[in-house]
C-alpha cells in the first residue's frame, strides 16, 4: 500500500462556514419542494397544472415526467465514464470516475423522487409496478431496470471502486474512521486483491454497458412506440434519448469536475487533459444529436401526416416555439464554443463550463418538448389544441430535487474522497 495518509484528502471531514451556508440554502429549497409534494398528496393533482388530454385540453404528463427523463439521462455520464476507464483504458478520465459514479447514483435517486411526484398514489404505483409490470413493456425496462437494476449496479460500482481509498482513509483517526473501515471491508491492498479488483471491474463494466443501452433506449421506447400519439411515434426516439442522455450527462460532469477542481483538487490533480477529453466527447455527442434532430424535423415536415405536422408547427412557430428555439440555441452555441476550443486546443474552462450548463438547460427544455406538445396538440380525436402550464408546486418540486441532488453530492464529497487518493490509482 502507498504511504500512510496524515489527514483525510480533498477536504473530507472539514466544513467551512461558507459550505454550511450553501447547504442551508440547498436544504431550504429541497424542503420547499417536499412541501409542494405534501400539497400534491394531501389536496390531489389539482394543485398541479396537469389535466386530462382531450376534453379538458391538458396534459397528463408534465414537468415531473420531463424531469424523470432528464435525471435518468444525466445518470448516463457516470457509468459510461467508469466503463470507458476500464474497457478502453482511458487514463485521462480516471480522476473523475468516482464523481461520475456518484453523479449517476444521485441522479437516479432524483429520478425515483420525480416518479413518486408524478403518481397520485405513489405507494400503489410502486407496489403494482413490481407486481404486475409486463417485461415486454418499455415501462418495465425504464422503471424497473433503470431504477432498480441500473441504480443497484451503479451503487456496486461506486462501493467496490472506493474500497481501496476507504482502507487508506481508515488509517486516519477520527469520527469517520469506523465508516471507512466498514466500506473497506477488510481490504488490505494485497496483490490478489488488486488482481481481483481489476477482474471484477472489467466484468462489471462489460455487464453494465448493455444495461445502460437497454435502460436509456427503453425510456425512448416509452414514447417512440406509441403509435397513436403524433410526435412520439418514431424509430429515432430511442437512439435520440441515448444521445441526449450523453449530452446532458457529460455536460453536468464538466460542471461538477470544474467545481471540484476549483474547490479541492487544483490543477495538478484535475488537469486540462480531463476537460479536453470531456469537451471533445460533448462536441461529438452534440453533433450526433443535432443531426438526429434535423433528420426528425425534416421527416415530419416533408412527409409527416397532418397531425404530425400540427405538433411540429406548434414547436416551430406555435405555442412552444420560444422554448424550442431557446433549446436549439442552447445546443448550437455550446457546439460553436466546443468546435472553436477543439481547433485552438486551448483550455478555456469558463466556456466549457458554460457549455455544460447550457446543454443541461437545453436538455431540460427538450425533455419538456418531447413530453408535452404531443399531448396538447395533434390528437387523433377531433379535440381543439390544449395547453399545459406548470404551477408553482411543480416548479418548487423540480427546483427542490435539483437542490437535493446538489446537497447529496456536496455531502458525499465531505464524507468520502471525491477523487482517487494519490497513490491509489493503479
Amino acid at each position: 500500500m502507498a504511504a500512510r495518509l496524515e489527514r483525510l484528502p480533498f477536504g473530507v471531514g472539514h466544513t467551512s462556514g461558507r459550505w454550511k451556508l450553501w447547504m442551508a440554502v440547498l436544504a431550504a429549497i429541497a424542503i420547499l419542494g417536499w412541501y409542494g409534494w405534501y400539497l400534491e398528496l394531501s389536496r390531489g393533482m389539482i394543485v398541479t397544472g396537469l389535466r386530462n388530454i382531450g376534453p379538458m385540453g391538458g396534459a397528463t404528463w408534465g414537468m415531473d415526467v420531463a424531469f424523470i427523463v432528464y435525471f435518468v439521462g444525466v445518470s448516463f455520464a457516470g457509468i459510461t465514464v467508469a466503463a470507458l476507464v476500464r474497457l478502453a483504458d482511458v487514463k485521462a478520465l480516471r480522476p473523475i470516475a468516482r464523481m461520475a459514479e456518484a453523479l449517476t447514483v444521485v441522479s437516479l435517486v432524483l429520478a425515483v423522487f420525480a416518479i413518486m411526484y408524478d403518481l397520485g398514489q405513489p405507494l400503489r404505483g410502486i407496489v403494482n409496478l413490481f407486481r404486475y409490470a409486463r417485461p415486454q413493456s418499455p415501462f418495465f425496462g425504464t422503471f424497473t431496470l433503470v431504477i432498480s437494476g441500473y441504480l443497484f449496479a451503479s451503487l456496486v460500482y461506486l462501493y467496490l471502486g472506493g474500497r481501496r481509498d476507504a482502507a487508506r482513509c481508515a488509517e486516519v483517526p477520527g469520527r469517520l474512521q469506523r465508516f471507512y473501515q466498514l466500506w473497506a471491508a477488510g481490504y488490505g491492498d494485497t496483490r490478489e486483491e488488486q488482481e481481483r479488483r481489476s477482474r471484477a471491474s472489467f466484468w462489471l463494466a462489460i455487464a453494465i454497458v448493455p444495461l445502460l443501452v437497454v435502460a436509456h433506449s427503453t425510456l425512448g421506447f416509452v414514447f417512440g412506440l406509441q403509435v397513436g400519439r403524433p410526435g412520439w411515434y418514431s424509430a429515432l426516439q430511442a437512439p435520440s434519448f441515448v444521445l441526449l442522455a450523453g449530452v446532458s450527462g457529460i455536460g453536468m460532469l464538466i460542471v461538477i469536475a470544474a467545481v471540484v477542481r476549483r474547490t479541492v483538487a487544483g490543477t495538478d490533480r484535475l488537469d486540462d487533459g480531463v476537460f479536453r477529453w470531456l469537451g471533445n466527447a460533448l462536441m461529438i455527442l452534440l453533433l450526433a444529436y443535432l443531426y438526429f434532430m434535423v433528420v426528425e424535423l425534416l421527416t415530419s415536415i416533408y412527409t409527416g401526416a397532418e397531425r404530425e405536422r400540427e405538433v411540429t408547427e406548434a414547436l416551430l412557430s406555435g405555442r412552444y416555439a420560444p422554448i424550442y428555439w431557446a433549446a436549439v440555441a442552447l445546443l448550437v452555441i455550446p457546439l460553436a464554443f466546443l468546435i472553436m476550443r477543439y481547433f485552438r486546443r486551448g483550455a478555456g474552462l469558463t466556456t466549457l463550463v458554460a457549455s455544460g450548463v447550457m446543454v443541461n438547460l437545453s436538455a431540460m427544455a427538450k425533455r419538456f418538448l418531447i413530453v408535452v406538445p404531443s399531448q396538447t396538440h395533434g390528437t387523433l380525436l377531433p379535440y381543439q389544441p390544449g395547453s399545459y402550464t406548470p404551477t408553482w408546486v411543480e416548479w418548487a418540486e423540480m427546483a427542490g430535487l435539483i437542490a437535493f441532488g446538489a446537497l447529496l453530492l456536496a455531502v458525499f464529497a465531505k464524507l468520502f474522497p471525491i477523487m482517487p487518493v494519490e497513490g491509489s490509482e493503479s
Binding site: 413490481f130 417485461p135 431496470l145 443497484f152 449496479a153 494485497t190 496483490r191 486483491e193
Partner: protein, 75 residues
C-alpha cells in the same frame, strides 16, 4: 475456490432467474387471446426479474469481499 463457486452460482442463478421469470412467470409473450395475457402468471414476477439482476451484480461484491477460506493473501 469456495469464493469462485459462490460467485458462479450467484451469476448463474441471477441470469437463470431473469430468463425463467421473463419466459415463464411474467405476462405471457405473444398476441393476446384472453384475459390471461393481462397479468403475470406468478404475482410479483417483475420483482423476481429484478432480483435476478441484483444477484448478478451482487456477485461482484461477493467476489471482492468474501475471504478465500480464511487464507492470508500475500502483498
Amino acid at each position: 475456490m469456495r469464493r469462485r463457486i459462490v460467485v458462479l452460482l450467484m451469476v448463474v442463478a441471477g441470469f437463470g432467474l431473469q430468463a425463467v421469470t421473463y419466459l415463464f412467470l411474467a405476462t405471457p409473450i405473444g398476441k393476446p387471446t384472453d384475459d390471461s395475457f393481462s397479468n403475470p402468471r406468478v404475482p410479483f414476477a417483475p420483482a423476481l426479474f429484478i432480483l435476478g439482476v441484483v444477484l448478478v451484480f451482487l456477485a461482484a461484491v461477493v467476489y471482492e469481499v468474501l475471504p478465500e477460506n480464511g487464507r492470508r493473501e500475500s502483498r
